[in-house]
Symmetry: C2
Subunit: 319 residues, 2 copies
C-alpha cells in the first residue's frame, strides 16, 4: 500500500527517501525558522464519510495549509496518519481517490509528503496531518500582539462553509450552491496574504471556529476586546441568495467556522502598508472593526446596537 | 482542556508558545538536520482500551522515540493529535492520567510538547504523534546501506513484548511476568545506541514488526539477503521461563513485534568501533547473523538447518 499509493507522493531523495527509512530528514536553511501544525479530521465529525475521498484529502491538506498561512509560513511538507476501517476492496478505491486529492494539492501548493503511517481501526476513518512550513528567522505572525486602536480585518467572505453544511444536511436547492459547497470542500489557504502580513499585522489567525470564537482567541491572548460592525462582515453573493429564503442563517457569517479565511489586526500606522501589499485586492480584505481596551467582544448592528451572541446564534437587543 | 492539560507540557516560550498560536515555531541550529516521524495508535489495535492511560501515553511516545533512535537522532519535541470519544466524565480522569504519562516521558527523555489538537470521535481512542529530532548535518542512519559480509546485530532481548500480549490475552501466570509486561508498556528507545551507531552501522531500524519482518525491510532496501542464527537470538530470562511451559511461543523472538530494540548491520572493519562505543555492554548488543548476496532471509537452527518461516510462526525442516 505504501509503495503503491504513498511513495509516488514523496518525490525522490530527501526528506522522505521514498518512505524507505524510519523517518524523514530535512536540512533547514540557516536563515529560516520551521513552523509545525497538526490537525486531525474524523469521518462524520469533520467531513461526511461518503464525501468524495479526493475532496476529503484536499480539504484535510488545505486546513493545515491555512494554519501555516496564519503564521505567515511557506509550506514545505507534511506527514500523514491514516486510520482506515478494514474493508479491503472499498479501501483500495477510496485510497486511490484520496491520493489523487493529495497529489492535486501538492502540485498546486508546491509541497510534498514526508512520511507517516497507515493503521487499521474499528472506528471511523481518521486522518491526522502534520504540516511543516518555513519563515525567515523570527518572522512569523502570532495571536498575541493586538493593541487598542488596531483595525480588525478579514480576507474573503465568511459563512459560506457553514452554509454548505446546512445545504448538505437539509438538501437545500439554492442558486450558487456549487460555489458554497466548493468553499467547504476546497477552502483556499491564504498563504500569500499570510506571508505579506508579517511585519504589517499585529496578530493573525485563520477562522476555523467562527469569527467571534476565533477573535476571542486573539483578544484573550492579547489582553484586549473588540468592536465588530456586523454589517461590514463580508458575505458572498451566493450566501446572500441563501439568506433571502433562509434569513435565520444570517449568524453563520460570525458563528460559522471552516471558512479558513484570515482574521488579523493592523495598527493604524501600518494601514497604508496593508493597502500596498501585492495583489491586495485579490485577497478581498475588509475592515470589520477595531480593538478596544474592555476585554469583551461587542457585535454591533447598523445602528451600533449590540447583537447578543450565544452559542446557538444570536438574539437582537433593540434600543 | 488545552490550557488545563496540555499547555503545562509545553514549557514556556518557543516552540509551542504555550499552545497560544496556530502552530509551533522552531529555530534550527545551523549545523543540524531535522528528523520527522509519525505513528498512530488505535485503541484495541495497538493498545488495550482499558490499559492505564499513563502507560498508553508512555508507550505512544516511546514508540516514536524509537523511530528517532533508529535514525540516530536526538529528540526535540512532538505534536499530538487525540481523537477521544465524547464521554466527558470518563475523559477528564483519562486525560489527567494520560498527561501524567506524557509528563513523565518528557522528563526522562528531555523533550516537550510542541502542539497538536484534540477532536471528538464516535470510534475508539486514536492517538497520532509526530516526533521531531535532530542530528548533525548529513549524519543519520538509514535502511539502505547493508553490504554482503556485514554482521547483523540486535540490542536487548527479543520476543518480550509479543509474550506480554499472550500473557494478557490468555491471563497467564508466569514468573517474571511483570518484567515482560513492562517491556510491552514501556519499551526503551535506544537513543544513545542509535546516536553512537552513526558512522559505524551500515543500516539500522527499530524492531516493531518482528525481527524477520523488519530485517526484510533492510534486505529489500539494500538489495541483499541474510543468514540469522536462531540460537543466537537473545531472549530474556523471563521469556525463557515462559518458554518452559509454553515452548510453542519460541517463534515470538523472531516473529513478535513491539520490542523496539535496534536491528543493525556493521561492516567487518567497524566491528572494533562497535565494541568501543561508550557503555557498549549496557545496550546488550548481540551478533545474530550475517548479510549475504542471495536476496532471501535464512533462519538457521543450531545445526545450520533452515527453520521455515511463515506468517503464523514456523515449521522446522529436519535434514
Amino acid at each position: 500500500m505504501i509503495e503503491k499509493y504513498f511513495s509516488p507522493l514523496t518525490g525522490n531523495g530527501a526528506p522522505a527517501f521514498s518512505l524507505k527509512n524510519d523517518a524523514a530528514v530535512f536540512s533547514p536553511k540557516s536563515d529560516t525558522d520551521l513552523v509545525f501544525t497538526k490537525d486531525a479530521l474524523v469521518a462524520d465529525v469533520h467531513f461526511f464519510s461518503n464525501d468524495d475521498p479526493e475532496l476529503i484529502a484536499e480539504r484535510a491538506l488545505r486546513c493545515n495549509l491555512s494554519d501555516l498561512a496564519a503564521m505567515g509560513a511557506e509550506p514545505l511538507g507534511y506527514l500523514l496518519s491514516l486510520a482506515l476501517p478494514n474493508k479491503d476492496l472499498y479501501i483500495e478505491a477510496w485510497l486511490s481517490s484520496f491520493c489523487k486529492g493529495l497529489e492535486n494539492n501538492q502540485k498546486l501548493f508546491k509541497w510534498s509528503l514526508w512520511g507517516g503511517d497507515s493503521v487499521a481501526t474499528n472506528g471511523p476513518i481518521t486522518i491526522s496531518i502534520t504540516a511543516i512550513g518555513e519563515t525567515k528567522k523570527a518572522s512569523h505572525l502570532t495571536r498575541t500582539g493586538a493593541k487598542v486602536g488596531d483595525g480588525i480585518y478579514v480576507s474573503g467572505t465568511l459563512g459560506d462553509a457553514a452554509a454548505a453544511i446546512k445545504i448538505i444536511e437539509n438538501d437545500l436547492d439554492v442558486a450558487g450552491s456549487d460555489f458554497i459547497l466548493n468553499r467547504f470542500y476546497k477552502p483556499f489557504p491564504r498563504l500569500k496574504l499570510g506571508k505579506a502580513l508579517v511585519n504589517i499585522a499585529s496578530s493573525a489567525l485563520d477562522i476555523s471556529d467562527g469569527l467571534i470564537g476565533d477573535l476571542s482567541h486573539i483578544c484573550k491572548n492579547s489582553g484586549v476586546g473588540a468592536h465588530i460592525n456586523q454589517p461590514k462582515i463580508p458575505i458572498s453573493a451566493a450566501f446572500g441568495n441563501l439568506l433571502e429564503t433562509k434569513p435565520e442563517y444570517n449568524h453563520l457569517s460570525w458563528t460559522g467556522g471552516d471558512d479558513y479565511e484570515l482574521l488579523f489586526t493592523v495598527p493604524p500606522e501600518n494601514e497604508k502598508s496593508l493597502l500596498n501589499i501585492p495583489n491586495c485586492q485579490s485577497h478581498g480584505i475588509t475592515k470589520i472593526g477595531e480593538i478596544i481596551a474592555e476585554q469583551r467582544i461587542f457585535l454591533l448592528d447598523e445602528r451600533q446596537a449590540e447583537i447578543r451572541i450565544d452559542n446557538k446564534g444570536y438574539r437582537h437587543f433593540e434600543n
